[in-house]
């Protein structure tokens, strides 16, 4: 009976990041966290996927939803902001990144399946924004998104206080994602944490390894010494190159 169901299923198997990401605004910066599982229906497609994307040196973005959409949208945003920085000579602000994202996602009327959480530190302070696929924006002190968000939100709501210190904030985010991983099938594997402060960014990947990690990989090596595969024949054909034309142009370095 179960097999019958699977055969009749005609689903587009795109890779989903049904994940878990959460954010916390702390005293001198922002802490972002995410799990590392990407699924394609019931199969885990990527056990170590990076969900915290680089936008600018002081702005990072977590993406949940369709993997391709989140990756591409954040890449587009990042290149837009870099061009802007070069043109104007100004460092990008989080609120500008949010506005660009909002315009882009609204234009596509929800067809881009990207739930994004933008966080960063700029000259105006620490900021956290949540952007929905339809283009609505909310400024928040803490948030969790993805398939495991309800479990994580419980931990965040209980433990969040304004002006947390760094270690407590990291522990809170880790606990929230751990709760989501335990309660949701779409989230799992390792936990990544990214801490953004005025001084810089600390991208800890992974912050916590999954307890169920496959230890065989440590022993399995994919590097083989020359000679492991026997060489049967060898044929060397030197390519003869002839100089046809040579021109020299002087550069005026005066």
């Amino acid at each position: 009976y179960a097999l019958e169901n699977i055969i009749h299923l005609k689903q587009i198997r795109h890779i989903n990041i049904m994940l878990l990401i959460s954010f916390v605004l702390m005293q001198d910066g922002v802490v972002l966290g995410a799990d590392t599982r990407a699924t394609s229906s019931e199969v885990v497609a990527d056990k170590m996927c990076a969900k915290i994307h680089y936008i600018a040196p002081n702005i990072y973005c977590c993406g949940a939803g369709t993997a391709a959409d989140t990756k591409k949208t954040t890449e587009l945003l990042s290149s837009n902001l870099t061009i802007f920085s070069m043109n104007s000579g100004r460092n990008p602000r989080v609120v500008m990144a949010v506005n660009i994202l909002q315009d882009m996602l609204y234009r596509y009327r929800g067809q881009i399946g990207a739930n994004l959480l933008l966080g960063g530190v700029d000259c105006t302070g620490n900021h956290l924004y949540e952007v929905d696929p339809y283009g609505s924006v909310d400024k928040v002190p803490y948030i969790a998104m993805g398939s495991g968000d309800l479990a994580a939100l419980g931990i965040l709501e209980d433990g969040f206080k304004p002006d947390l210190e760094l270690e407590k904030a990291k522990e809170l985010v880790r606990a929230a994602i751990h709760a989501g991983i335990m309660s949701d099938l779409g989230s799992g594997n390792n936990i990544d944490i990214c801490v953004i402060t005025r001084r810089g960014v600390d991208y800890i990947r992974p912050y916590q390894d999954s307890e169920y990690k496959d230890n065989r990989y440590k022993k399995m090596k994919y590097k083989y010494r020359p000679g492991t595969t026997p060489v049967l024949t060898e044929k060397v054909v030197p390519l003869k190159l002839e100089v046809v034309q040579e021109t020299v142009q002087q550069m005026d370095t005066a």
Binding site: Y106, D132, Y134, S136, V137, D138, V140
Partner: protein
């Protein structure tokens, strides 16, 4: 979780709201609740801001799809800023309302957003305008909107008096919002109120526990 329910009226995050605006002697009060919901069952934000400043002394309240409303108010804000630079004068409240109305009417097929616009200008003083879903523009002394408004039509009709004082009007608005939030499941959170007078603008926030309580609470 399934975030975008197709059986709900609004796609994505909805403001499922209670908004109101009322003119008093010398100014206008505009206010809203602060809840954003998805599919009528999940509160996606307890502290969303629905009262947006579109110019120095003109505010508008949004209802309907959050994405559509945020986008329209952003477009209106930039339009009004440009207009006031061209005219070398602050825009009239009716201009702000008309800008919103044009956007809502011309794109009525795609948009699902309604607005209340309130403000003060030198020509006509305090005014309140309603731009409904399809793009109708109407001026009224007191008006309510959103899903929670259905529960307070009686209260507003009975309790509103023209030329109230500022304190009376604030109390009236707070009571109305509290009553609506008490009965409507998609309205709630804190009450955001903005008082606009010739002298300036004041933002009053009434947290949930300080809202007036009635006989059954």
């Amino acid at each position: 979780m399934e975030k975008h329910c197709t059986d709900s009226q609004v796609k994505g995050v909805s403001t499922g709201t209670t908004i109101l605006a009322a003119i008093f002697d010398g100014g206008v009060v505009i206010g809203s609740d602060s809840r954003a919901s998805i599919g009528g069952e999940y509160v996606s934000s307890k502290t969303i801001n629905k009262v947006i400043q579109v110019h120095d002394q003109i505010f508008c309240c949004m209802a309907g799809s959050l994405a559509d409303a945020q986008f329209v108010t952003k477009a209106a804000k930039s339009h009004l800023a440009f207009h006031s630079v061209q005219m070398e004068n602050p825009p009239l409240v009716i201009t702000a309302a008309s800008v919103l109305k044009e956007l809502c009417y011309k794109n009525k097929e795609e948009l699902q957003a309604g607005f209340l616009t309130a403000g003060w200008d030198r020509k006509k003083g305090p005014q309140v305008y309603v731009v409904s879903l399809g793009g109708m523009l109407v001026s009224q002394p007191v008006t309510i909107g959103g899903s929670g408004s259905t529960y307070i039509y009686g209260y507003v009709d009975a309790k509103y008096k023209p030329n109230m004082s500022r304190e009376e009007c604030l109390q009236f608005a707070t009571n109305a919002l509290a009553l609506a939030m008490g009965r409507d499941n998609v309205s709630g959170g804190v009450a955001h109120l903005v008082v606009i007078q010739e002298t300036g603008v004041e933002h009053v926030v009434v947290p949930g526990d300080k809202l007036p309580k009635f006989h059954d609470e």
